[in-house]
């Protein structure tokens, strides 16, 4: 074997799920390959040119587009280009079908139309469906729109960012879960800690920092306090597990109930929404290279976590404790402190996830984070970590989180309804883990 191919096979051994993810992406790209309808200025100019050549300069044209910023820009360019070419633009509608109807009623008194220029969205308006009957005075103007090209919905830049943005919360919480699982534990409380942190952030901003008038400083302090509160919950988890030797499953299950109940108590079961508009910066802003801030944060955290796991003593200790606790203890690894650190990190990251979710949804509610612990654990396991501890990689977890997000998003784009989606998601998780296991065995045998 050349060194190149052995490097490749090692890459696959470490990140076999990349292949699964790539296959899923390829499948969804194929399945959502569909007509795309450009609405840029180029499309507008070219549509204007073809209208001029087909209907002549004396043509009378109505432009109708939905009330949306891209479409409005399209309409403006189209109108300007047509007018420059000498074509009469009878009216430019930027709004709803109702507005188009009104414009056509007005236009009907002035004679026939040669064409109605639309985008794909407005071409489907039923107001244009029966023109000869509804507006006989307009003649029979054809509905024209820019020519389409084929491209997968799945692979549109907006959609890929959408996926990354949708999974950010789960992926960030999964970093902490990876630490805990590699260390040989489990943390079921993260879903409730997300809710608790979201509520604490909201309540602090509402009651402590001036509600909708809160400044950036206040919001940052509120968020940090909420994250710290989750960190304390994580420390209690870790303390109970390490000091008293209680099973992590039971300790974190109890914490899940406590934190969830706490979130309901704090918020009185209501959603806390008295936060400033600028609170959505973290969850919905996109400052760096027009990437969503949540996604940038996620990538940075993964880079950091990867370095911790591969380049620091703490990372080595976590693998050692999870792999063979007794051996680690005899080698002088401070087991308790290492495990405590993993639970605190899990709590802190769940808290951060809660702040992020609250920012995305511009409110904090105790119902957030339901079942998230299971998705987070699924992401970690699909990413190749062993629930027995001692193995698992950060970027594997990221791939696992993306696998789940891609499946959900892809099925939504493919019109698969919810019941089927659950079945498929469950089967794919199972299949991915099975495949990974088989591949591992094969590579061990070689």
């Amino acid at each position: 074997m050349t060194s190149r191919s052995s490097a490749l096979s090692r890459l696959l051994a470490d990140y076999g799920m990349v292949v699964v993810l790539a296959l899923l992406c390829a499948f969804f790209s194929f399945a959502t390959h569909t007509d795309q309808h450009p609405t840029g200025t180029d499309a507008a100019r070219q549509l204007a040119a073809s209208i001029t050549s087909q209907f002549g300069k004396s043509a009378r044209v109505l432009i109708a587009v939905p009330s949306q910023s891209d479409a409005a820009a399209f309409a403006d360019t189209l109108e300007a280009t047509l007018t420059k070419a000498g074509v009469t633009v009878v009216a430019t509608v930027k709004g709803e079908p109702k507005d188009a109807r009104a414009a056509m009623q007005t236009a009907a008194s002035a004679g026939k139309l040669d064409a109605i220029a639309t985008t794909q969205a407005s071409a489907a308006w039923l107001v244009f469906a029966d023109l000869p009957t509804d507006f006989p005075a307009l003649g029979k103007p054809p509905i024209v729109q820019p020519q389409t090209y084929r491209w997968p919905n799945f692979l549109k830049r907006d959609n890929l960012l959408n996926i990354a943005n949708q999974i950010a919360v789960i992926a960030i919480v999964a970093i902490g879960m990876t630490l805990v699982i590699v260390g040989g534990g489990i943390d079921l409380s993260v879903g409730s800690l997300i809710a608790l942190s979201a509520v604490v952030t909201g309540v602090l901003i509402r009651d402590g920092f001036g509600g909708t008038d809160a400044g950036s400083f206040g919001m940052i302090i509120a968020s940090l306090l909420a994250i710290a509160a989750s960190g304390v919950a994580g420390a209690i988890n870790g303390g109970l597990v390490t000091r008293f030797g209680l099973p992590p499953f039971i300790v974190t299950l109890a914490m899940m109930l406590v934190a969830s109940g706490g979130a309901f108590l704090l918020s009185h079961g209501q959603s806390v929404y008295q936060v400033p508009d600028s609170f959505v910066w973290l969850g919905r802003g996109a400052d760096f290279l027009s990437l969503p801030n949540a996604v940038v944060l996620m990538v940075l955290l993964y880079l950091g976590a990867h370095i911790v796991m591969t380049r620091t003593v703490l990372g080595r200790y976590i693998y050692a404790v999870g792999g063979n606790r007794l051996a680690a203890e005899y080698s002088g690894v401070p087991i308790r402190r290492v495990l405590l650190a993993t639970y605190v990190a899990s709590g802190l990251l769940a808290g951060l996830g809660g702040v992020l979710l609250a920012s995305q949804l511009k409110s904090g509610a105790p119902t957030y984070g339901g079942m998230y612990e299971l998705y987070v654990i699924a992401a970690v396991v699909v990413g190749g970590a062993s629930l027995n501890g001692g193995s698992g990689r950060m970027f594997g977890t990221l791939i696992g989180a993306f696998t789940i997000a891609v499946i959900q998003n892809g099925m939504n784009l493919m019109n698969v309804e919810s019941y089927t989606q659950k079945v498929v998601l469950g089967l794919v998780i199972l299949g991915a883990v099975l495949l990974d296991q088989l591949r591992r065995r094969a590579s061990q045998r070689v």
Binding site: S69, A121, V144, K156, Y368
Partner: protein, 325 residues
């Protein structure tokens, strides 16, 4: 190991940012009349409750008649999941988005995103009355009117004798508050002129569920042994109450009025376990939703709110109901 990760990085990044569009061919004029008029995206509170399943199915059926595709998703009462659904619908360029909000406050930002994308948004069953959102229309049951019908059913069942009545409430839901308000109004009006009054002695949380309704009704029976009626705000809590009354052996003494008209509730009415239900029409809601979308697309006016009246369903109706055993 480190090397491998560095190799992986461009892959991960390309996943996040990739994708220029392919070169756009020169547009030519395209003839209209697409066979399919587009997709209606629907995200409902949950599909575990058959009520919402009926809404989804009837939207799908009615939309097909008008040439629309549909995608019906269950948000599983998770507002973040519902937000993701709406975002996917926007990417898909759905012609309309229908939702029953899991949480009317937290769903506001994504409704605004859909507004900005120029896609009409409609709510079904659960309204969203927050400022700052633009909704095409809101379709829901006339819960206040339904509550009044429930009150009439109770008066009818108790007859001239009157007596004590307990209400199994679910206060969290605006719809249930309206039902109880309508119920109380009719009973109060009745008491103003009747000799034998109907006393609404208790209002307990029935949780809208069988188990909670069961416990609440047991407590009500402990407090008032001479209870004569129970009004439960939905079928599951009514059936829970029925179980408690059966256990106490007071089926002859106490009548139950429920709400909803789910299959199990209708069957109970046929078997005489529940006296009557103001029934809702989830199928009509679905049809009204699609009609509103079509009307809007034709450029006609759509009212801001469409209330579907309930209708009182008694044993006589159940005997004629072909869907029941």
């Amino acid at each position: 190991m480190k090397l491998h990760c560095l190799r992986l990085l461009p892959l991960a990044l390309s996943l996040l940012v990739a994708c220029g569009k392919p070169s756009v061919p020169p547009p030519v004029v395209v003839a209209p009349a697409p066979a399919k008029k587009g997709t209606i995206g629907v995200t409902l509170l949950t599909l575990q409750n058959p009520f919402f399943k009926v809404i989804g199915d009837s939207i799908t059926a009615e939309a097909a008649k008008h040439g629309y595709d549909t995608i019906v998703l269950s948000a599983d009462t998770d507002v973040a999941r519902q937000a993701n659904h709406v975002k996917d619908f926007i990417v898909k360029k759905c012609v309309a988005i229908v939702l029953s909000p899991c949480e009317s406050r937290s769903i506001v930002p994504v409704i605004q995103e859909a507004n900005a994308a120029g896609i009409p948004v409609l709510t079904v069953d659960i309204p969203c009355n927050e400022p700052g959102v633009k909704l095409l229309t809101q379709v829901a049951t006339d819960n206040f009117g339904g509550g009044k019908e429930a009150g009439q059913a109770m008066i009818e069942a108790l007859g001239a004798a009157g007596g004590k009545v307990a209400i199994l409430h679910f206060k969290q839901a605006e719809s249930c508050r309206l039902r109880v308000k309508g119920f109380r109004e009719v009973i109060d009006a009745h008491n103003a002129k009747a000799d034998a009054k109907i006393n609404m002695v208790m209002e307990l949380d029935g949780g809208g569920a069988k188990d909670v309704g069961y416990k609440a009704a047991e407590d009500a029976l402990q407090a008032h042994g001479d209870l004569r009626g129970v009004f439960a705000i939905n079928d599951p809590s009514a059936l829970g109450a029925r179980a408690a009354i059966e256990k106490a052996g007071k089926t002859a003494q106490i009548v139950i009025v429920g709400f909803d008209g789910q299959p199990e509730g209708k069957q109970a009415i046929k078997d005489g376990k529940i006296y009557a239900d103001p029934i809702q029409f989830p199928d009509k809601m679905g049809i009204e939703i699609v009609r509103a979308i079509v009307k809007h697309s034709k450029g006609e006016d759509v009212p801001k709110e469409l209330l579907i009246p309930t209708s009182l369903y008694r044993k006589a109706d159940a005997m004629k109901d072909a869907e029941l055993k």
